[in-house]
Symmetry: C2
Subunit: 192 residues, 2 copies
């Protein structure tokens, strides 16, 4: 059973009451951007109070400050005028439960989905896998406060990022829905 018909039906319903959203401008109306995790439990529009048109939302596995996230952030301010940025990781993130070595081994063994047990992910598939994973930095996380702080630091120190843009570091708590400030990131992320 494909999800495709459900998605298309939900989309038709959304479009049917689209109203004046057709008039929204390209640049984010509230002038900020959020970098956060792809995790299914996170809805940045809901947890940060965004309406359509308000803010850029960049998401990847972990909410990491990858080269691609930085590409997106630079476009966000240079071409579309955002002035404040949030880096938001979260509790119970899948990126905490494996290492580069683990996922490389799993992928080399098979391309089937692994299972998550008490000891982390383990493979249930039997070949053929692929070794391409050896060449990817998976950007895993060992501690959320550290990963938020390091990602804010990487963005802060990037030569294309103006010193005037404040960068806020938070952890989203999947048990409460609350955004919890990361004080070490606040230090690093201050605008000059």
């Amino acid at each position: 059973m494909s999800v495709l018909p459900e998605v298309i039906a939900a989309n038709a319903e959304y479009a049917a009451s689209f109203g004046d959203r057709s008039e929204l401008a390209l640049p984010p109306a509230r002038g900020f951007a959020v970098l956060t995790c792809m995790d299914a439990r996170l809805d940045p529009a809901k947890y940060a109070g965004l309406s359509e048109g308000d803010a850029h939302v960049i998401r990847n596995a972990g909410g990491r400050a990858s080269d691609d996230a930085i590409r997106s952030l630079v476009i966000s301010y240079k071409l579309l005028g955002t002035k404040e940025w949030f880096v938001i990781h979260h509790s119970d993130c899948g990126m905490e439960f494996f290492t580069d070595e683990v996922i490389r081994g799993l992928l080399a063994n098979s391309l089937e989905t692994a299972a998550l047990g008490d000891q982390g992910f383990y493979d249930v598939g039997t070949g053929p896998g692929a070794r391409e994973g050896d060449y990817i930095d998976w950007l895993t996380i060992s501690d959320q406060a550290t990963s938020v702080t390091e990602d804010v630091r990487r963005i802060r120190n990037h030569p294309l990022v103006p010193a005037r843009i404040p960068i806020y570091g938070y952890i989203y708590d999947v048990k409460s829905g609350l955004l919890l400030e990361v004080p070490t990131a606040t230090e690093v992320g201050r605008a000059a």
Copy 2:
């Protein structure tokens, strides 16, 4: 005026009625992932009918199949079991209005925000810029149907992506809210 107090206030309101969302599991309940653009006008949860816990959402400038998006998609199926993927670009995307040469020139000139005129983006800042932009592939778009198809093709042909995963290519129309299928992407994205 910072947006920070507004975001924190909206978050407190969201968390106050969090309810049984605290019980959501880590793997996406509906088993799929969406790769789409960071554009502020797009709310994938709304346009595709997602509740918290349903699906992975990956977003970057353009919704492009960057190395980082592929990193995220591979984690999405290998560790968290998604079985269908959507690549969704959109009309009136900022990525259509410049080229690598344009943004490199703008960044070399200044780190101030550029303006968008009839002829595309033009710089209003006066130094100091930085040349780091010369080393970044900005993944600009000249035609949405082509970019969707090429991105579906890149994912389809990646050695870590199993042939059994269907990849659907769509364009979100910012004037109507509708998802429009890209037939050339459908051809490429079919599961084996």
